[in-house]
Symmetry: D2
Subunit: 388 residues, 4 copies
């Protein structure tokens, strides 16, 4: 018998479960985007979002999805033919370098096995070799949504500094921001790219660029053509709480409410909650006798876990059974991981019992799919959740 009744479990690694109060906030009437009431909203979200990035500098908010903010980071800071250093840490890192190529940049793409983050050692090596400083930017995905592997951004920064190299550091935090500790200013990141639909607990439709002083300077001479993504008119209008073209007002209502929720819980508590849920999930995976894709424990993601399915099983069939029988959506293996892994999102507006239900559904689904697992896996997760 297939499912009926109750709520869908949306356990993909984003879009995430949107809190009811955010959905209600979004359903208020749209207002005049040039009026005084809007200016208050604009200032509230433009200021309020900064601590989530760990920055005191400007954060640009686009009425566009996250992929657009990738493009914005590139076209605002770079010129045709510029070299950028990218790392094959997974599906989304690969897509970002494809975008860079399409926009007319030269990409040095360091190959990877999709089980590790960016190697700070390789960053150091490549930049030291680049004595002519032809590399203009290093692009890092903080948390690879396709693999559940994080990159150690602070160590990447240290490597760049050790090489005394002037390249900009561009970081994608689409599936980590608001879930995993992140420090734009402290880590010396130049452009941080983010989206609304993950740790920020909003529907998709907003994206972000946090911008360092150095990036802002670079933007003044960057020659990639740009208009919609151009920071300058946006930053000018933002000073009074406005935007140069019609903003996505109702999503901004939602952002204001989501920031209220994050502050009410406290960012440190939010990060600690995600760490616990990551640990509990891996306890279940290990308890079942299965393997987590991430190969380096320093790089475990707290926002999602990719699980390798044993030889002879198709991860997509397991997901289909779980969707049909238990009304839960899990993330597919993307690109070259297709069919070989599935991904559990445990980020955003989420709690212990939702995680327990999620892991119970995975355990039942694996069993129904004929995967041999040790059913004490779920209890191993509960043991972790019971302790603080």
């Amino acid at each position: 018998m297939s499912y009926a009744g109750g709520r869908h479990f949306l356990q993909i690694p984003g879009p995430t479960n949107v809190p009811d109060s955010v959905l209600r906030a979004m359903s208020a009437q749209t207002i005049d985007h040039r009026g005084p009431e809007f200016a208050e909203l604009g200032r509230a979200v433009l200021d309020g979002v900064k601590p989530v990035f760990g920055t005191q500098g400007p954060v640009v908010i686009y009425p566009a999805s996250g992929t657009g903010a990738w493009e914005a980071a590139l076209v605002n800071t770079l010129s045709p033919g510029d070299r950028v250093l990218c790392f094959e840490t997974g599906h989304f890192a690969s897509l970002w370098q494809e975008m860079a190529t399409a926009l007319g940049l030269e990409v040095d793409f360091v190959p990877g096995d999709w089980r590790h983050g960016v190697s700070p050692e390789v960053v150091a090596e490549r930049l030291e070799q680049d004595t002519g400083h032809t590399i203009k930017a290093v692009c890092v995905v903080h948390n690879e949504t396709s693999t559940g592997v994080t990159s150690r951004v602070a160590e990447v920064r240290a490597a760049i500094d050790a090489a005394a190299h002037p390249a900009l550091l561009l970081v994608d935090t689409i599936s980590s921001l608001g879930s995993i500790d992140y420090r734009h200013d402290e880590w010396g990141v130049d452009v941080t790219v983010a989206g609304s639909q993950k740790g920020l607990m909003l529907p998709p439709g907003l994206s972000f660029n946090a911008i360092s002083e150095k990036a802002l300077n670079a933007s003044r001479s960057a020659r990639l053509p740009k208009s919609f993504w151009n920071w300058q008119p946006i930053l000018a209008a933002n000073e009074r709480g406005f935007f140069p073209y019609t903003p996505a007002t109702n999503l901004l209502y939602g952002l204001r409410e989501a920031l209220r929720l994050l502050n009410a819980e406290g960012l440190d508590a939010v990060f600690a909650r995600h760490i616990r849920h990551g640990e509990a999930t891996r306890a279940a995976v290990n308890g079942w006798g299965l393997e987590v894709l991430c190969a380096d424990e320093r790089e475990y993601s707290s926002s999602l876990t990719a699980i390798m399915v044993p030889e002879g099983h198709d991860a997509d069939k397991i997901r289909a059974i779980i969707l049909d029988r238990f009304d839960m959506s899990l993330g597919a293996g993307l690109g070259k991981l297709s069919g070989r892994v599935f991904r559990i999102g445990h980020l955003g507006s989420f709690n212990d019992l939702m995680l327990a239900g999620t892991l119970a559904g995975v355990q039942m689904g694996l069993t129904l799919a004929g995967v041999r697992i040790d059913p004490t896996g779920l209890n191993a997760a509960l043991d972790r959740l019971q302790s603080l």
Copy 2:
């Protein structure tokens, strides 16, 4: 660390989790309750609710909570000093007889141990003794919300018939309607009392009387004073889809949507889902080594389970730990069960993974409270959920 993030688990035996689409339906603008658009709404819900009661006769909808519908059942059918036969099956059966007394009726209250439903044998006995037919009504609670024990209404009907006694049969289905199979017409019930906030998946604020022909006849000579609850003007106005006084329009919007959801799933599937969830819950309880309050397996409730806590433990402390640590509300022991049981609601808009999360929370809470349990209980529930 206490909970933060995610959704509250509302696992009291009502009010239940309201589907998002019902909440959205309720948030439409109120309309003119004397206009043509209202008449369509009125007819849709007045007709649409009948199959849920298993009746082809009229169902009165009150803009009031369930307790009001208890009063309506009594004041429409009875006269001052009439004798009614009630059974101490739990807290709510006791409250209903108190109401009957307060309204000026004479109550024969058959004592009970709160672990059994109404005994059809005792019904037969009492009515056979009443050769003068002074008993005017038999009041039965179909599903005792305080105990998780059902009464076998069809057998009670058979007992009345066997005694050839003309008493009316009044049945409270507040926590069973829309969750447990119920047949107003087939079982010969005269007034069925129900509320909106349980199996009908609505917020509280609507209540119901399904009315047999015999009850309608009785109402013509019943002399308890009545005005607000009086069936006659309501039934007259209902013929055109209207109500004699301002109806709770927005809750009626919700009812229309809830009926759509029940029909989309299918009432038989809804009942089967509740049966599975009841079985899975009891599998967990037994697996933990604890005892269900309901003492007769023919009377297990599919909509809630009351669990006895071992000597030396306070059920309310366990509930407080679970609320604090896992953001889940469970039902308290009521009246003489206070502190001795807690109740898990598994009715309404609910599914397998929500139940798994619920039972995981109970298991963790019991452990944290120091209750010795066998942690394989949760897996026993999953075994039940895995099979169809």
Copy 3:
């Protein structure tokens, strides 16, 4: 061509236009009505509603529509056969006295022409004649929703006092509370009856009794049968923010938000706004050359205006044209006014331009229906609205 697009104009004298933020507040998930979060809500609305009644005493909130609160006022304070003094000020006053009769009271019903409020002189006269003090209560409708005529409650109180008569004063404020200045304590009212769906800007489904010390004393010896409406268990539970039976939680969410809105505007400003809108409406009516039903300018209602249609015209046909062509609902003539008047509600969440649109629709509808009017009527209303 009939209407399409835009918002319906709901200009009946209640239910009124519900503010979006109230509808959104109501669409939050229902919570445990016995938990700590509910207690906060309960206390907030039980305390917060008092200033709207102008009382420091208790206000009982029923999960029921306004008609129920009429019944509650009677059954809590009176005994079978008690005499009550009622006045035929309109349709609803007539219904209330019918209810009193149905519940077993003796009604002295003072006839009226439906164009005047209660005469304080007649009150004085009747009570002076009742030297035996057999009249136990005087029932007054503060603002007759069927006629747009108010009664001068303070003067009625003075008349009772002048007669040194101990009768209770029961007042229906269903269509005035939150719109027209009202003072339960200062005017010595014993029970004030109200509903949610008018000046309180909520959907129907809540009703109220504000209770004086004297009424509370009377309730201890009153012998009309009661259970659902009984104040005593409600007041006891209210002390901790709870209710003795399941409250209409989602409407209470709405009430909390509606009280916030009333306080944000300020009750005095709310009353002043209604006065302006009443004046502007009457300016239009006079400008058109038509007549307001209310015959005494001291008794003009600020929340609705009933307009007499000239001989030879059917008010219901005019309303039908307006509904069809301009998507606006107006109030019908009720009872003996059927077809002879229509009513414009200008209460609740309402402003100058909504009123201008409303009056424009009436002016166009009258014209289309062939009623000869002076089209400067609308501009006369605008003249009033332009001044403060």
Copy 4:
């Protein structure tokens, strides 16, 4: 006394009033954008939106605001240094040509007086002169939001054809689509640009490119750099109802509902309603003795009206009075019209009484600002609204 109570009148020419049912649709939970339920939604909106554009070809939906769709139209069809022919019909036409320049195109910008649309004669002339066919595209704003002047697109098409010139025809319909009759296929438009927040009655955040076969061919050789806006991967993913990157799911829910509403009313009825409202508005303006900005009656906009204020008055002060006293937002004069005009939006979800309220507010505001007007203006508008 300033406003309080009731609904804001949002009468800027977009964003427009969003129907409640669209806001409710948008507040449903976000779903998996790679799952089967999403595919149904995707196909529904991708197919459903075509008739609104008058096309049977593909329509690309961007999770971005309308300005982005301008950029998409250019970067998909053109190469660096290409010549485009633009017309100074108002503020937005000027911004679009600025964008073209910023993206590396050569713009021929035909000057204009902001009171007329694109001259088909000038189009013919310019293209005939361009015997080398160096002009690659003609950019036309169908309905200038800053002026309330439309351009006659069918006549522009005819002029291009008469010149036998191969230039692409790119048309901005941001403030006309869904309000004013428009025919992408019949008029031979190559790219139609639109946004969600005007006639489509949605909040901002979605934008559109309807694409001709010829434009699609052009995109295969166009060399402006592009990634986010690139049609090809979008069209490929759209075939199965999906998108290449995370779509703005909740706005797509809203779009599905808005299309349902447009179809329920009927597109022809929607256009007729806008025509009536434009006529009624101009009747008021003329009645007041003021002048409409649009100088050619063939080019009157049905979605907004820009009104010239007499010498010695500041349009922004008038708007401020109206906002303060009557809680209505009107559009400012933009660019070189600043302070000299104000604009009334009468598009989207709108009806006769909302328009009457709007015009009443303008009439009162003009009077309060000391502008000498004839107060019969409003009645002139009502005369127009009374007839079909």
